[in-house]
Amino acid sequence: MNAQQVLAQFQATGVQTCFHDRHIDPQIYKDLDGTNWRLADYEQRGGYKALRKVLGLVGGERMDPAAVTQTVKDSALRGRGGAGFPTGLKWSFMPKNYAGQKYLVCNSDEGEPGTCKDRDILQFNPHIVIEGMIIAAYAMGITVGYNYIHGEILQTYHRFEEALQEARAAGLLGDRILGTDFSFQLHAVHGWGAYICGEETALLESVEGKKGQPRYKPPFPASFGLYGKPTTINNTETFAAVPWIINNGAQAYLEVGKPNNGGTKIYSVSGDVELPGNYEVPMGTPFAKLLELAGGVRKGRTLKAVIPGGSSSPVLPADIMMGCTMDYDSIAKAGSMLGSGAVIVMDDSRSMPESLRRLSYFYMHESCGQCTPCREGTGWLWRVVDRICNGHGKQSDMDLLDSVADNIMGRTICALGDAAAMPVRAMLKHFRHEFEAMIQRPNLPAADGKQPVAAGARG
C-alpha cells in the first residue's frame, strides 16, 4: 500500500455523523448517503428547482429580487453561524442601486470548537450551498461570490471545487445562468489554520491575502466589505436553508420549528454521548430529545453540564439545560447562546476547571493580537486557570479571573475576547465550588484519576 491507501482506510465515511436515521424531518441532510453528492443526484432530489423557480423557468413568473429577500425575511431564517441575525434583514442592508461590484461570501471557516455540521453539508451535499448562494446573489444583485472553507478540511475544499465545475458545466453558474440575463461567478477559497478568520471581517482580510485581523465595525460589510465593496456574508448552513424556503414558502419554513425560530437546525453533538454526530431537527426540539437521539450520556453516566452553542457560549448546568428547547430564544433565556449549534456534553466525571483550562488555552492561542485586552487577557485567563488546575491556585484567583474577564468584555474590536471571557464567567457562576476546592486542596487529582493534560504547559 502507498501512503494515500494507508490513510484512506481511516477516513470518516459520514455514517456516524450524517447518514443515520436519527434526524427529525431533515431538509439539508435529507436522503444523503455519501455517494450522492454530485449534480445529477442533487437534481434528482429536487435540487436547483428553487433557482429555476426564482428565475421564472418553472412554476410561473420570474421572482422580483426584492420578493426573494422578503420571502427569506418572512421565513424568520436566522444566521446559522453563531449570531442568529435575521438573514433576510441582512440581505436588505445591501445597497440596491450601487454601480460598482458587490460581493457575496459564504463563511465555511468552521472552527468553533464543537462544530462540525458545515463540513458534512459541503462534503455530502455541496450543491445545496451553491444553489442557496446563487439565489442570494440574485436577490441582492451580486455577480461575484466566494466560499471561504476551513483549511483543515482541504479534502472538502477540493470536493466543493469539483461541484462548482459541475455547476458551471451545466450552465447553473457563470455567465447568463440557464440562458437568463443573470450572471454569477462563484469560487472556493481556503483558510489555513486561524480560528479568528471565522469572524466575518477577519475572513474578508484573509480573502484579500492578508493576516486575518478583524476590522472595526462600523463600517459594516454591507457598505465596506471585500476590497472595500458592499458585501454580504452568511454561514454555510444559512445558504443551505434557502432552497427549501423558496420551494416550500416562508410560512411552511416558519411552521417547522417555533415562532421567531423557523426551520430545522443542525446540531453537532460532541463529548460525553454514546453517538456523537450531527443531528438535523426542527428548531425548538427539547434538549432532552436531542440528547436521546445522540444515544444519551455515555456509559449510562449522569449529565453534568452542557455548552450549548460552541465553546464561546456560556456553560449551563444539567438541570437548566434539561428544561431548554433547542432554539435561539430558549437558550438565550437560560443565560447562554445557541451559537453555531455545537452541543458539547459533559458527564458527572468531568472537572470543570480542566475543561475551562483547555478552552482558555485555545483562546490564548487563537487571539490575533490586535487588541491588548484580548492579547494579554487571554494569556492571563489561561495562566490563572492553569495554576489552579496544577494545585498552585491562590484564594485571590477567583477575583482575579473575574477582573480579567471584566477587562476583556466589550473592550475589543471583535467578539473573540468576549468569547474567551464568557466561558470563564459562566464556569465561575455555576461551578465556583470546583475551582475553590482545587484552590483549597492543592494537587487535587483529575476526576478520572489520571494526570490532567498539560496541553498549554507543553505547547
Binding site: 491507501q5 479534502q155 486575518g212
Partner: protein
C-alpha cells in the same frame, strides 16, 4: 532557523505556475494578492515547508512585498516555517476532543514514536503536533495528516496501524 539560510529553492516550474494561475484567476485582476494563501499552500505541498526564498518567489509572482507574504506565513497555523517530517500529524486536543480521548491519542503517539509533541522522529518520518479545532468534533480522536487528509475515530489500535502503514509505505526509509 538556521536551515533557512542554506535553503536553495528551484525556480517555479510551469506546472506550479499553472496551479498559481488557477488561483489568481478567481480574483479581480488588481487583487493578485488574494491568491497568496493558496499559493503558499501549494508550495507547502510541493516543498514541505515555506522558506524565505519560497516567500520571495510567491511575492514576485503575485507582485506583493515579501514581508506581506511573510506576514501570512507566520499568522496562519498550518504553514510550516521550518522543515517537518515526511508525515506531519496534527492531533486535535480541543475540549470536544479532550472529552473523547484526543489527548490520549496524542500521548499514545508520543510513546509510540518516542518523541514529544512538537518534535520530529530522528528518521525524519514523523512530526507530531497538537492542534486546535479541526472542525470534526464528532470524529474524535481525529488527526490531520500533512494538512490534507483527515483520519477519524483513531483508537490506539488504529493509530498503531496508521504508523506502521505509513512506515511500510515509505520503505522504512527517512524522508
Amino acid at each position: 532557523m538556521s536551515s533557512q539560510a542554506a535553503s536553495k529553492e528551484p525556480a517555479l516550474s510551469a506546472a506550479t505556475r499553472d496551479r498559481f494561475d488557477r488561483e489568481v484567476a478567481k480574483y479581480p485582476a488588481d487583487q493578485r494578492q488574494s491568491a497568496v494563501m493558496a499559493c503558499l499552500r501549494i508550495m507547502q505541498e510541493e516543498r514541505g515547508w515555506i522558506s524565505a526564498q519560497t516567500e520571495q518567489q510567491v511575492a514576485d509572482y503575485l507582485g506583493m512585498p515579501p514581508i506581506a507574504v511573510h506576514e501570512v506565513t507566520t499568522f496562519y497555523n498550518m504553514y510550516n516555517q521550518a522543515p517537518v517530517g515526511k508525515y506531519k500529524l496534527n492531533v486535535c486536543t480541543n475540549l470536544p476532543c479532550q472529552l473523547r480521548d484526543g489527548a490520549r491519542a496524542l500521548h499514545h503517539l508520543e510513546q509510540r514514536l518516542g518523541i514529544k509533541m512538537g518534535e520530529t522522529t530522528p528518521d525524519g518520518l514523523f512530526t507530531l503536533q497538537q492542534s486546535e479545532c479541526l472542525g470534526a468534533c464528532a470524529d474524535s480522536p481525529v488527526l490531520l495528516v500533512n494538512d490534507g487528509t483527515m483520519v477519524s475515530f483513531m483508537s490506539n489500535d488504529k493509530l498503531d496501524q496508521l504508523i506502521e502503514g505509513l512506515r511500510t509505505a515509505s520503505g522504512g526509509e527517512p524522508a
